[in-house]
Every structure is written in C-alpha cells, then in structure tokens.
Symmetry: C2
Subunit: 137 residues, 2 copies
DNA sequence: GTGATTGCAAATCTTTTGCACTAAA
DNA sequence: TTTAGTGCAAAAGATTTGCAATCAC
C-alpha cells in the first residue's frame, strides 16, 4: 500500500492543470494513495488535520471541486444534506447505508441495466447512477 | 382533470393521521389533484401563493416532510442543493435534466435491473434508485 | 377548552465567496 | 516578480426549530 511515489502525485496535479501546492499534494495523497474512497469535505478536513496537514475547510471544499472538475474525483449524490466525493471515477454504482451514511462501490459489471428508455429528443445521457439504499434489519 | 373531490383530500389526510388544516388541504390539492408531480419546497410555496393559499415557507417544509413520513410523497435525491418530492410513490425511476434541474418519471417496467449483487449481511435493500442524468446536446 | 398546527424570526448546517496574505513558478 | 492559491471571516442558501398565537375537534 501507499505505492504511489510523492512525485507521481505532483505529476498528476500538473497534468490536471493544478499547481501542486502543499495543501493539494497532501489532500491528493490522502485521497488517492489508499484505494477507492468516499469522502465528504468535513471528513477529509478532519483526516487532514489528524495527519498533521494544515489546511482550511474552505480550501478542502475548493480542492474537492477542482479535483472533480479535473476528472480526478466524481461527485456522488445520495444524501441531500452532504456532498460525497468518490475517488473511483470509472462507471460504477453504489450501496448507501442510510443509518451510517456510508457508501460502498458496486462494480459496473455487477449490475446490468436493460431496456433503458431513450432520452427525449435534444437530450443525451450523461450518466446513469444506480443507488441501492440499504437499511439494517 | 381535478377529479378528486374536496372530501377525498380530507379523508386522505385523516387516514394518514394528519389533521386536515386549511394549509394541508390546500397543499395536498395542489400536489395530488394534478397527476404526477415533482416539486421543491420553494416551488410549492410559490405555487400556493399564486393560487391564493396563504401558507408560510416553514409550513410547506414541515408539510412536505409530514407527507413523506406518511407515505403520501417520496423524496428523490438528485441534486445536492435542493430536495425534490415526488407524488408518485410507487417504484419507478427518473430522468434528471441537469441544465433545467427538472425531473421526469421513468416507469418501473421501462427499466430492468439485472444481476444486482446481494447486500452485505445484516442489511436489506430498502429501495433501488436509478437516475439517468441528461444534458442538452 | 385542549392539544395540534401555524407563522415568524432566529438558528443551524453546508457550501461559497471576497479579500488580504502567502507561496509557486 | 507575477500570478495562482490559501485562510479567514462573512455571506449565501436550504432547511429546521422555538415559541406565542391560532385553529381543529
């Protein structure tokens, strides 16, 4: 684990057109060096603080939005009260555990969507999101 | 259209355990007497005001939540910035047009979801939501 | 009457923004 | 240097809540 060398994070940011600042590098490492993750701004900010990275919550918000704009993250809409960001940007779906407010990936090939109706004229499908809401029983 | 008689709205509220006040009756008629609808609190409040129903925005929020709790409405999560409520409470899916922030129903039988993975132990599927995000092209 | 409901204003929560300061190139 | 990025505090939106007044039963 933590196989991605420091310089690779910098390269990734540069490629995305983002200046590799201390804060962005630190956040990128937290996000991308530990497998697929789902974070909220608050969660990432707490984690950064605990890891000794000094970064303001505003910068965390800005950074998450910039990373999303650059295609490094994907926003997952499952909860009206909070935004989740997913480090897995390839097509896939989610389990959402309501009581815990936690997200878990469902691989794209684990779900097949058949007979999706064609979109109305003038509109094209940008993305199909499947959210399987789970509750404890 | 507008086939549902006034008393039926009252009966529906009573059945749901909600006292049929002027505000709830008025909002229920706006919601349920005109086919399947998708509304936000702000939209419903504007509509009520235009229809001459005097009701505060806070009461619209409270009423939407109460109706949802009573199973008269379903909340649709498609947008982090706003809550949408759907008068169609049977299983079905949605098109979401990003530029317009509008929702359109997809009948349940128009989509088939195959090979959905089993939920982790101790959890059960409460609901499967499919959101087809559309963009103008 | 009595308890539920409403309206208002204030509070809360998440997210964004303006601007002076700091850091990357 | 020059320009982009950061932090802070304030602002902005959506939604909820406390409480006195009002309404349904």
């Amino acid at each position: 684990m933590d196989a991605r060398p420091f310089t690779s994070t910098i390269a990734r940011l540069k490629t995305a057109g983002l200046r590799p600042t201390r804060q962005r590098i630190g956040l990128a490492r937290l996000l991308f060096d530990h497998g697929d993750r789902h974070v909220t701004a608050e969660m990432l900010h707490d984690e950064a603080t605990k890891a000794g990275l000094r970064v303001s919550l505003a910068t965390v918000y800005n950074t998450l939005n910039q990373f999303t704009g650059a295609g490094l993250l994907r926003e997952v809409v499952v909860d009206t009260t909070r935004s989740y960001f997913d480090t897995n940007v390839s097509g896939h779906h989610h389990f959402f555990v309501e009581q815990e407010a936690t997200l878990h990936d469902i691989p794209a090939d684990a779900v097949a969507i058949e007979r999706l109706p064609a979109p109305p004229a003038g509109l094209k499908v940008a993305r199909v999101d499947v959210v399987v809401r789970l509750t404890k029983n």
